[in-house]
Amino acid sequence: MTPQGLYCEPGGFFIDPVRPVDRAVITHGHADHARPGHQAVLATVETLAVMRARMGEGGAGAVQQPIGPGEVLEQGGVAIRLVPAGHVLGSAQVVLDWQGSRAVVSGDYKRQRDPTCAPFQPVPCDVFVTEATFALPVFRHPPPEGEVAKLLKSLALFPDRTHVVGCYALGKCQRLIRLLREAGWDRPIHLHGALAALCKLYESLGVALGPLEPATVANKAALRGAIVLAPPSAVQDRWARRLTEPVVGVASGWMRVRQRAKLRGVELPMVISDHADWDDLNRTVDEVGAPEVWVTHGRDDALVHALGQRGIRGRALHLVGLGEEDEGGTEAPPATGEGDAAAVRGVAAGTDVAAVSRGEGL
């Protein structure tokens, strides 16, 4: 069972498993957390909607059980609640109460303001399970409004150039649109085909995004001076190069490190992340007051070190398969077939998670 991730023994269910299981609780709709083919899926209404939109009615679980805000569900003596994680629309932390102790599996989360989803709520607990995507003190996300202002300044400076910004289809794209609207950009925003469906879904779930239009490269004259949003993979390939003198931007927490951004050929890096930065990871751990913290994926070395200095026991789970869809995945090496980092991690993961589930299963 180890490669399948976090398992709650008394409840008999997995959280964000990487392979099909009988009972899964899903924190949010990113593909590295929500995978197809589970029997029964428990998630927020929004996450289930995202899953259906992305993998079809059948892929999103044979039995889909939505759980509303404040609702508590009992499973094998374990009380399950979902609490907002502030990561993307529908994202939730899984709060598990069992025999007087409480564990919180936070999934992916952030503490910055996001007009497209409910804010993160810290829940005091005994064991806090956290991500560590940006767990180095060099990662401090600036206020996103300032990053959007950079884009608007560039549009003023280069009014004839198409500004194409790479952003993840689920969450980042819609957040960026809302931030642009707040900054006064009320012209149509053009979308690469891969982003359209989820924008529509967001709107149907009550997140207004303003005028959106498909970005057809065929009509590139109409895209002069326009904002085009596209998946990060598309901004770097020929699709974007066919636009009129494009200014290529990417909205991601990784853009904080200049040389990494530059290597990817980005002209307008925008440090906008849907993950907690270093300060917020540490602040969150302090706020939930857990004496023990498990780190699922990311830079666990730095976080575990920093926690240890404050007397908090941190342990790295090295979970396989996380951090692959959203920003966690941007650093993946080109397919080389050699020195595959994921495979190396897989070996370590087997042992670590086994130890966790044997000794201290929830």
Binding site: Q112, V138, R140, V247, A302
Partner: protein, 558 residues
């Protein structure tokens, strides 16, 4: 304005690949920034303004006092560039302290407390000059506290040197021309007569004053450059209409001397007068010349590596001047006295140059000899026969070509030698500098040789840090991180598995290298994942490339 405005400009410049976009950013800077900061910023970008007061160790100490050593080391390892690491990790003052009491929703907005305003650029320049050394840490630490991460990076790069944003003086002057509507040639003419923050220049460009008068100040004239010769171009050449010379492997320079002073300029118009006092001393004439700066011992040109010993030195010592004696091999005469020879055909200028050298015979200078040839086939043979490390190939100049600025097609060609190639094994990797410093981008590679016990061992033969694509770099960086067997400071030793095809221009004997051989300009041509390390080349094979020591024809012609 202030450091943050300059930081925003730097950030855009760093990420902007296009020349036109860079020009637009510079025009915006000139149009929107007040004096004297716009001039100070311009000087910093073109590296006319260099600080030496704040050493990198000062920054190191400042950050060490503010951060956990383990977290700093992990961060540095990830980011690569130390200045950038400091800029990013520097504790943000005024940010609500972590773990402070507060409601759930209050935590949503990062609240900044307004501190002292960030400094103006001109303020930084002035304070760095006036502040006693002992007070520098507090001053710089205080500035860093007022800035955000990009402001901090700009400040650190500014005061420790090394902005490296790809803005040449030439590009800046083109931007000034476009912004003001003045002719770029007119700006070039006055450029070396004005100093940062260029107030008279800006007054003139904004129509508020007369054009500044460079008087007799020595002025850089843009150099004439050559195009690489392709096979198709070669076939079209008519031998009698062309002149050939060796392409010497030194640095191209312009010598300007007259009543207004003496200057030595690099190819890009950088003033390198201070680095070569013995040349300046020899410039007792009134002329403008084009030539190649070389280390020359007893009439023989030393390899480029020797000249490198003289570059980027803060101080020129007598020992350096004795051990690495420099001279200039003259290519062209641009001005004699005040007479501008540039419109004359090459043959006419050459005659004037030969005549001038015979008459003036300045010390430390000689003529670049011309190579006679009857056919292109013969010339090709001469080119391939020249293996001296000091020769890069041939220069072909059209007999009637005037001396024109820049790279005009069809007038001058450079015909480089074919590179040599070996398949070597990657042994060590080191992080690069500048934009590559978060990647393992410097590769030490080796070849096999007998280990004296019947087996074979790898011996390092060179180091390459170019030639690869960005994808290959990312791949190599990942491979190295996953195949590290040892670490020595910034260097990683790797498993001896990966074969790299390395090309280079020449091989020469060297006592400073363990292998006994040194390569000229090695670069990575290909990653040979298809080749097992055991099939990489032997040292013997490289030794066969080592050039004969005898000088090729024309080299010793004085």
């Amino acid at each position: 304005m202030s450091v943050p405005a300059f930081a925003a400009l730097l950030e855009r410049l760093v990420f902007t690949p296009g020349r036109n976009a860079k020009l637009a950013l510079l025009r915006d800077w000139f149009a929107t920034q007040p004096d004297p900061d716009r001039g100070v910023g311009l000087a910093a970008l073109t590296e006319e303004l260099v600080f030496t007061t704040a050493k990198p160790s000062l920054i190191r100490d400042l950050v060490a006092a503010r951060t956990d050593p383990v977290l700093l080391a992990l961060s540095h390892d990830y980011v690569g560039d130390f200045a950038e690491t400091v800029a990013l990790i520097w504790p943000q003052r005024g940010l609500r302290p972590r773990g402070a009491a507060g409601g759930e929703h209050e935590a949503q907005a990062e609240t900044y407390i307004v501190n002292a305003p960030p400094p103006a650029l001109s303020e930084v320049v002035e304070a760095l000059e006036l502040t006693p050394k002992a007070e520098l840490p507090a001053l710089i630490g205080g500035w860093l506290d007022t800035l955000d991460s990009s402001g901090r990076l700009a400040l650190i790069k500014l005061i420790t040197g090394g902005l490296r944003v790809g803005v040449s003086g030439r590009l800046a002057r083109v931007a000034l021309a476009e912004w003001s509507g003045q002719d770029v040639a007119a700006i070039e003419e006055v450029w070396h007569g004005v100093a940062p923050p260029y107030l008279p220049l800006f007054r003139w460009l904004e129509g508020r004053d007369e054009k500044p008068d460079p008087r007799e100040a020595p002025v850089f004239r843009p150099l004439m450059l050559a195009h690489p010769l392709e096979d198709a171009d070669l076939a079209a050449l008519d031998p009698p209409a062309w002149r050939a010379e060796w392409k010497w492997d030194g640095i191209r320079v312009q010598l300007t001397a007259g009543p207004g002073g003496r200057r030595l300029w690099s190819r890009g118009g950088e003033d390198i007068t201070g680095a070569f006092p013995e040349i300046v001393e020899a410039m007792d004439f009134h002329a403008v010349l084009d030539g190649e700066l070389l280390v020359i011992r007893d009439g023989a040109v030393a390899p480029f590596a020797d000249l490198q010993q003289r570059l980027n030195r803060k101080q020129v010592t007598a020992t350096m001047m004795r051990d690495f004696p420099v001279g200039v091999r003259l290519y062209d005469l641009l001005f004699e006295g005040t007479e501008d020879l540039r419109p004359l055909p090459f043959d006419a200028r050459r005659a004037r140059l030969e005549d001038w050298v015979a008459r003036v015979s300045p010390p430390r200078m000689d003529l670049s000899a011309q190579i006679a040839f009857a056919s292109l086939a013969q010339l090709g043979g001469i080119r391939d026969g020249a293996r001296a490390a000091s020769i890069e190939g041939l220069m072909l100049k059209r007999a009637d070509s005037p001396y024109v600025a820049g790279r005009q097609k069809g007038l001058w060609w450079k015909w480089k030698r074919e590179p040599l190639s070996i398949d070597a094994v990657l042994m060590y990797a080191q992080r690069g500098h500048g934009k590559r410093s978060s990647f393992y981008s410097d590769y030490t590679f080796g070849l096999w040789r007998p280990d004296g016990e019947g087996g074979e061992e790898l011996v390092p033969v060179g180091k390459a840090y170019s030639g690869y694509t960005d994808e290959e770099l990312a791949w190599l960086d990942r491979w190295i991180r996953n195949h590290t067997t040892g670490r020595f400071g910034p260097v990683r030793e790797v498993e001896k598995h990966l074969v790299l095809e390395v090309i280079f221009d020449a091989a020469q004997l060297s006592t400073r290298h363990k292998s006994g051989v040194a390569l000229r300009f090695p670069r990575i041509a290909r990653i040979r994942t298809d080749k097992p390390a055991s099939e990489a080349d032997r040292l013997d094979m490289l030794m066969a490339f080592v050039e004969r020591r005898a000088a090729p024809e024309g080299e010793a012609a004085d």
